[in-house]
Amino acid sequence: MELLIKNGVVYDPLNEICGEKMDICVKDDKIVSKVKSPKVIDADGKLVMPGGVDIHAHIAGGKINAGRLLRPEDGRKGTEPRGKLTRACTGYSVPNTYATGYRYAKMGYTFVMEPATPPLLARHTHEELIDTPILDNAILALLDNNWMTMEYVKSGETKKLAAYVAWMIKAVKAYGVKIVNPGGDEAWGWGKNVNIDDSVPNFDVTPRDIIGSLAEANEMLNLPHSIHIHCNDLGHPGNYETTLKSFDVIKGRSNKNRQVMHATHVQFHSYGGSSWKDFESKVDEIAKYVNVKKHVTIDMGQVMLGDTTTMTADGPLEYGLHTITGRKWTNLDVELETGGGITPFLYSSKVAVNTIQWAIGLELALLIKDPWKIVLTTDHPNGAPFITYPIVISLLMSRQKREEVMANVHKAINKRAILPSIERELDWNDIAIMTRAAPARILGLDRYGKGHLGVGADADVAIYDVSPEEKEAKKIQSALLRAKYTIKGGEIVVKDGEIVAVPEGRTYWVNPEFDGKPTKDMLGDLTGKFEKYYSVNLANYPVQDAYLPHPIEIKTKV
């Protein structure tokens, strides 16, 4: 099957193509330089970009499903009947798996990273990914509150830690290492929490130690992605200091291909003030740091004003939110490994704090000069559902649009946020970087054909019916919400904003080679943990091949 995408205005930042009128050729599932007898897609005057890459969205697994179960009232929003090709859809902030696949595809996205899987529940995440159509995907495994991790951090046995990380990633078919409130969930096992320099109860290590050691293990294994961290102290006034301290833990490290730390949903970590009363934006400080340092990249975690469902592996945080709102709350501690919580949340334009949170996400994207360092996310569904991306983009591209919103929100935004003073408007190249090229590079997926349109890349392409000169926010939004075409693996999956094909997604997983004595010793320790403390047997723990019907294995060597 051949396609010729003719005369599009192409933005392909990884290949330094910035709004050039040109043709893109597709043969089977790859981008090629020439085609013989292709089906021609007329993209004259339309935007052509690589398929979108979401670096961080809670789309599958125990937490999102607990969110769906918790919120039938959300499920009832956005229901769509079964179509000829499509399954029935439900949900807004907690969409069912089918809605997730279709809606991302309609927005021109073709890859999503599920960023927080408790290893013990990984089978569940993979089961949902099987039922998530179209999207290529991968999962990050939570490895920071694990007893094995903390014990090796404490003993300083980094090689054994690396062996453990390698074994776990392979066992649960994950792509990389996720850190969420390091040490916090272990403390939450006793109803407590920790900050970066506190000692984790009973384990005698600090979050700082955990971050440093996991980064070292991650680099030792040469994983495609760096550690991916949700810092301690999320959501609290004054937490920007913790955030900067967390960034600083590994400031001396580097990697020639990428960052050595990706900090996620930094909007939730850029807060000043000492209480909710004097809560303010500290994006200036965060941006100052990120602008001059090379080792860290971030994503936004943009908040949009409205109702959503918050869910994270940060157990104590969700309990804290529940005590603020009094709304329903689900918690799920996972033995020896991690935790998790879910609670609905309304970000209200009438509430000073929520309004400032909304501003902070945008400030991050606008004050960080290099778009390669900041990825567009809403930490779906924590800041807002992913379906709001087109609105986020229009806000970043239009100062006028921002001013319209700011005129109708809590006035605290004028004093305690920076946004009103920012004039910068992003252009399509910035957007293409923040939604495609940068996330692919940060994940290390650019080397495996994602995030660009060079010859040999995966034929994942989005074509939007909007002129690059378009300034009107509404037009930008509707074009981005319903792509003219989305091509996934060389197949047209969306045409005129409608699903026209539903191929199954593929799951990327990393198989880190790491053998020898540390692995042997580690396996001895691990066997002990299963014999004594886990509630399942070791033999039943690894995710079987049956759960990855379309695997893409990436082998790494030390």
């Binding site: 499903n65 769906r68 969409p95 069912n96 529940l121 949902e128 689900t330 033995e335 079987q544």
Partner: protein, 429 residues
């Protein structure tokens, strides 16, 4: 041949340490499992061949004809009900949901007559919970409320709660307090430290009294609530607050007595409030080994956990309206497909009467009362013994069921897949 690490496909405890001896494709011995588990895995009377009822009698037939007859019934009905699911794999659940969607049917599962009220309660207030290993390693106060798990989940206590030694509970049973709250002295009481007897139907006020005491409002609590003295209640609250890690497991004694889901809301609210003082969690004692799995799959595929009506095209969830018993009682459905469950034995009489009247298809490994009413009977292989696949333990931990012997029958998933194909064929798709 010895096969280790086998899962027991019987109750929600989903033990995964069973050892099975197989000779000539026959299980000759089952070790580690409890009696119920052993009996399930050793096997008992099976339905041998597909059957179709003709002039009142079930006559043997082929899979092909049974599947075709099923498709015919489904295609000719306006409001089919598809029900069951708690003793089969998630892979079968997926096929069932797809079939329901295709047919515009109502799909429901046994949770609807079991922990349905718990799910409604969770949708009201949430569920502060954890995996069972967390309890094994940490809990020092274990409360079983309205749940006689010594009989329903015999190994629950030895594997996950009262008895095992955990990382922070090295002393095992000695370091843990076990309290039973129930209307009668169940067998669980024999291995507990304390028994609090509640008058039948009085769980709600007892829970309210505990919440009031916890909130420092003990003045408003009368001297005796639901048959329990105020002193006992105050003592229990103190115990809860003093625990390092406490847990309430609740069963049908809470969900199926006066107050139903409100009882569970009250219990969950109590646990929520206890978290201001110490670590506390709560967990429903789910019965069948994969009832949790159906709720999981149905939730991610349709957005809702059970009682999903596809007659509008998109899923509509309104338990009480769209649950199996209600649809049957209103005599609404004009055919029913039952998979891996036995509603004739468990539903109210009125519902069973309607089931008897409509075309009824039964897919199950075993003969049971529902089969007596069925017009088409399709035998299936036993999931977890003859078929592998996914199951979710009561704490939502997914584990893969093992296949230990070769089946002589098709799996539920295969049968449903064939029905789906036939339905599509008949509808000319």
């Amino acid at each position: 041949m010895t096969i280790t690490d086998v899962l027991c496909p019987f109750c929600g405890a989903l033990c995964d340490d069973v050892v099975v001896e197989v000779e000539n494709n026959k299980i000759v011995e089952v070790k580690e499992a409890c009696e119920m588990g052993v009996s399930k895995m050793m096997g008992h009377e099976r339905i041998t061949t597909p059957m179709i009822r003709e002039s009142g009698e079930l006559k043997e037939t082929t899979y092909e004809d049974a599947v075709d007859k099923t498709a015919e019934i489904l295609v000719n009905s306006i409001r089919p009900l598809i029900y069951g699911w708690s003793s089969t794999t998630c892979e079968a659940h997926k096929k069932g949901i797809e079939l329901a969607e295709e047919m515009g049917a109502v799909i429901d599962n046994t949770a609807s007559v079991c922990h349905g009220p718990s799910i409604l309660a969770i949708q009201n207030v949430g569920l502060p919970s954890c995996t069972l290993g967390q309890i094994k390693n940490r809990a020092d106060l274990i409360i079983y409320w309205g749940s006689n798990q010594a009989e329903a989940h015999p190994r629950h206590m030895s594997r996950y709660t009262s008895f095992p030694r955990g990382f922070f509970s090295e002393e095992g049973r000695k370091g843990k307090k076990v309290v039973v709250v129930d209307v009668r002295k169940t067998t669980t009481v024999e291995v507990a430290d304390e028994f609090i007897q509640v008058a039948p139907g009085e769980d709600y006020p007892v829970l309210s009294a505990l919440r009031a005491i916890l909130a420092g409002e003990e003045d408003i609590v009368p001297s005796c609530v639901g048959g329990v003295s105020k002193e006992r209640l105050i003592e229990l609250v103190e115990k809860m607050k003093d625990a390092r890690f406490g847990v309430i497991f609740f069963g049908l004694g809470l969900t199926h007595t006066r107050g139903r889901h409100n009882n569970v809301v009250n219990a969950i609210s109590l646990v929520r409030e206890l978290n201001a003082h110490t670590k506390f969690v709560i967990m429903p004692m789910r019965g069948h080994y994969n009832v949790t799995g159906f709720n999981q799959v149905c939730t991610w595929e349709t957005g809702f956990p059970f009682a999903v009506d596809f007659s509008r095209g998109q899923p509509w969830y309104n338990p009480g309206e769209t649950s199996a018993v209600d649809i049957l009682n209103r005599k609404e459905c004009d055919s029913a497909l039952i998979v891996a469950s036995d509603p004739a034995a468990h539903f109210p009489r009125k519902s069973v009467e309607h089931l008897a009247k409509i075309p009824l298809i039964q897919i199950d490994p075993y003969p049971n009362p529902t089969m007596e009413l069925a017009d088409v009977v399709i035998p299936s292989a036993i999931a977890g013994v003859e078929v592998e696949g996914t199951a979710y333990r009561m704490d939502k931990v997914p584990i893969r069921l093992r296949k230990v012997i070769e089946p002589n029958h098709l799996s539920d998933e295969e049968i449903l897949g064939r029905i789906l194909d036939k339905v599509r064929e008949r509808r000319g798709e």
